[in-house]
C-alpha cells in the first residue's frame, strides 16, 4: 500500500517499561494495526531534538503489553497521511495517536525487541532506515506485537528528564 508518514512534535516525559508511556496519557507516539490481520512495516524513524538546553532523550520503540485505551483522534501538531497524494487508504487504517484516555503500557519482556533512538535533544538528530526485508513490523492489533510505541525511556538508560523533539515514523500498512 501507500507509504505514510506519522509525525508529532512536543514534550516526551520519561517513563519506564512496564508502565504507561509518557505522562498524563500523552507524550508518546503509538501505532496500532487496524485489524487482527493487519501488518505494518516501520521503514524509517527520524527524531530532531528541539530542546533549549542540554537534555538526553532516551527515545526507544517497543511493543506495548497493554494497548492504549480510547486513543485520542489525531490533531495538530500530529499529522498522518500518505506520501503519495493519490494513495488509497486501506480498509482498516492504522491507528496512530499521541494521546489516549489511558496510555499504552510499554512491554518489559526481555524477549521483545527494542529500537534505541537516543540523542541529546539540544541540537541532536537521529535517523534510522531499515533495509529491505528488515523493517520493524507490527502484526495484528493485539498486545506484544500489534502496537509499537515511541517514547522517552527511563529504563534504557535511565532518562529522567522530559525531552522535547519532533519525530516522524515512516510506515507502510498492508
Amino acid at each position: 500500500m501507500t507509504k505514510r508518514l506519522f509525525t508529532w512534535g512536543g514534550s516526551f516525559p520519561s517513563s519506564a517499561v512496564g508502565a504507561g508511556a509518557g505522562a498524563s496519557n500523552t507524550g508518546f507516539m503509538a501505532m496500532k494495526g487496524g485489524s487482527a490481520t493487519a501488518i505494518v512495516d516501520l521503514l524509517e524513524v527520524a527524531c530532531s531534538g528541539t530542546g533549549s538546553a542540554s537534555t538526553v532523550g532516551c527515545f526507544a520503540i517497543r511493543y506495548s503489553s497493554t494497548l492504549g485505551v480510547t486513543p485520542t483522534a489525531l490533531a495538530q501538531p500530529g499529522t498522518d497521511g500518505p506520501m503519495n497524494s493519490a494513495g488509497q487508504a486501506i480498509a482498516s487504517p492504522v491507528v496512530v495517536y499521541f494521546a489516549a484516555a489511558t496510555a499504552p503500557v510499554i512491554s518489559n519482556a526481555v524477549t521483545l525487541p527494542t529500537l534505541q533512538i537516543g540523542i541529546n535533544t539540544f541540537g541532536g538528530i537521529y535517523r534510522w532506515n531499515a533495509s529491505p526485508t528488515q523493517q520493524w513490523t507490527t502484526i495484528g492489533n493485539a498486545v506484544s506485537g500489534g502496537e509499537s510505541v515511541l517514547w522517552n525511556s527511563s529504563t534504557f538508560p535511565n532518562a529522567s528528564a522530559t525531552a522535547t523533539a519532533n519525530a516522524q515514523m515512516l510506515y507502510e500498512p498492508y
Partner: protein, 119 residues
C-alpha cells in the same frame, strides 16, 4: 554475497552530545556520539525476532546466520533458542505470512514467538 544493512545516522555536530555513561547504556561508542560528533553505522536485523542491532565492528565473537533463512543474520538470543531441543523454525517472515493470510493470530513476538492458529 553481502547482505544489505539498515542505516543509522546520529548527528551531534551542533549539540553537546550524549554523556559517556548513557551512551554506553544505549549501545553507542561514546566517542562517536559526543559533542560535535557524527555517527553513521550499519544496522543488522535478526531474521527470527526482528530486533535491530547496531553492527559492532569490533566484535570478534562469531555472528550467527540461519541457513533456513537463506543465510540471514540472527541474534545471539535467537541462536540460543534455535539450538534448544524441539525447536520449530519460525522466522519473522513466516509469522507475517501466517498472520497476514489470517491463518494465525500473533499473541507474542520476539525471540520466543507465540501464534494461535485460526483454522
Amino acid at each position: 554475497m553481502n547482505k544489505q544493512y539498515g542505516y543509522l545516522f546520529v548527528d551531534h555536530r551542533a549539540s553537546p552530545g550524549i554523556p559517556e555513561d548513557m551512551a554506553r547504556k544505549m549501545g553507542y561508542d561514546p566517542g562517536l556520539v559526543g559533542e560535535g560528533k557524527l555517527f553513521e553505522g550499519d544496522v543488522l536485523h535478526c531474521a527470527h525476532c526482528n530486533q535491530p542491532y547496531i553492527k559492532n565492528h569490533l566484535r570478534t565473537r562469531e555472528r550467527y546466520y540461519c541457513m533456513g533463512c537463506s543465510g540471514d543474520y540472527i541474534c545471539d538470543m535467537c541462536n540460543h533458542e534455535r539450538l534448544q531441543p524441539g525447536y520449530v523454525h519460525l522466522p519473522f517472515r513466516k509469522i507475517k505470512e501466517l498472520v497476514g493470510a489470517g491463518d494465525a493470530v500473533a499473541v507474542r513476538l520476539g525471540s520466543n514467538p507465540l501464534l494461535i492458529p485460526t483454522k
